[in-house]
Symmetry: C2
Subunit: 255 residues, 2 copies
């Protein structure tokens, strides 16, 4: 059985609480938020508090708050020599105050407020200074059915950057697709199965192998026609840059 203290009331903290609350091997003994209103609906499931001094030592204290606030909060914890972890993709492990044992529990996934989270699809990147603490984090991730990987601070920061490409930037290309179709009164719905299939394809095939299309084929006729069709200068620039990138990857000549 793992006894957990949780700090924070954002999307991630709330999803974590719900998953921990369901897990047989985890008890969330205290849940801290500056603003009790945000978590008061859970008051019957755990002890909710709005003073850091009311936190008690637990097996793990999880700080799931914004990057800039992590170091400060870790200094204010009213206990020492306990395992304290943050959940950030970019904050180094040493930014946590050294009076406690330090670790990181970074979930590489996108969370929205409304949607239920299936933690079986949330890989956790684990880092600790002490080897025994890694065992605790593995136990925690395993208890909610999540896959986990041992990942150093440098690797985690790289993953956070890679996630910007495959999540934020990919989503922006969906947005461009939406803009392009909207102008011609085409329902965006037509593109949705393709979006899903493109993501499914790389689950079992490398993106390199999965590539198709005019840039991959070096089909300059189609590329030219597409560039002529694009009216928005930013769409044109993105088309050119991404075509160039595909041709670099696949060893074709430049546009």
């Amino acid at each position: 059985m793992l006894n957990v203290s949780l700090i924070g009331a954002g999307n991630l903290a709330t999803h974590l609480f719900k998953a921990f609350d369901k897990a047989d091997e985890i008890i969330v003994s205290r849940w801290y938020s500056r603003n009790l209103n945000k978590i008061k609906s859970y008051a019957n499931r755990t002890e909710i508090i709005d003073k850091l001094d009311d936190l008690k030592a637990a097996d793990i204290c999880i700080i799931a708050i914004s990057d800039d606030a992590i170091a400060g909060v870790s200094q204010q914890l009213p206990f020492t020599d306990r395992l304290v972890v943050h959940t950030s993709g970019s904050v180094g492990i040493h930014e946590l105050d050294g009076k406690n044992r330090r670790g990181v529990l970074y979930p590489l996934q996108t969370f929205s407020e409304e949607a239920e989270v299936d933690f079986g699809q949330v890989p956790f990147c684990l880092e600790t200074l002490d080897k025994d603490d890694l065992t605790i984090l593995r136990q925690l991730a395993g208890s909610i059915g999540s896959p986990y990987y041992r990942i150093s601070t440098e690797q985690r920061q790289t993953l956070h950057l890679a996630a910007v490409f495959v999540n934020n930037f990919v989503n922006q290309l969906y947005r461009v697709g939406h803009e392009i179709t909207d102008i011609k009164n085409i329902p965006f719905d037509i593109l949705k199965p393709l979006i899903l299939e493109t993501a499914k394809k790389v689950q079992h095939m490398s993106p390199f192998m999965a590539q198709t299309g005019p840039a991959r084929r070096n089909d300059s006729k189609t590329i030219k026609r597409h560039l002529n069709l694009l009216e928005n200068p930013m769409h044109k620039e993105l088309y050119e840059k991404l075509t160039e990138s595909i041709q670099q990857t696949h060893g074709r000549k430049k546009l």
Copy 2:
């Protein structure tokens, strides 16, 4: 019952044949390929031919071959006044020879040779010059369980372009994610659930609403750190251009 002649032996033609062969209301009476070897394993399911002159008039003749060859093949068909459709995203309906009734049956999806295709997830863009012919194409798409939309040539060419963004270009961003993680010995597997979730999110939420991350938040500290981490000049350029695009979309100031 619809009697179909099929021309071509590529991925799409082969997946179409399999779907038609299973459908109760469709009979593929002849299947043409220049190279009989490619389709000979289906000889027990339909009549396979390698001479266009051996084609007979059917309810629909589907030309599923490369863009450049469509016009020529449509001229060589040994019948007139029948419904002849191509399956291209970019070829105009009028490029088909006028001796037959003309139409387009464009599946907006990515096909690979190995994977089975679920045609329930393949939206068809339908176009015909004659209204009655549209009914035939609707019946055909419906028979294999596919959603369908009436789409003009101009709209279809726009969709083809949008598909390059949400499929080829998105896949290239997956590739960049793969390259970035590979250098640091991080398994690409960690990114796969995020890739899938990002695609799932826009099935029920607009890409505009779904956007998160440093560019959306205008978090210039993180953006700078990411740009410093990137060693590959093309990765850097893509990061800058896509960040700029997100900031344009969401009305934030430039980098």
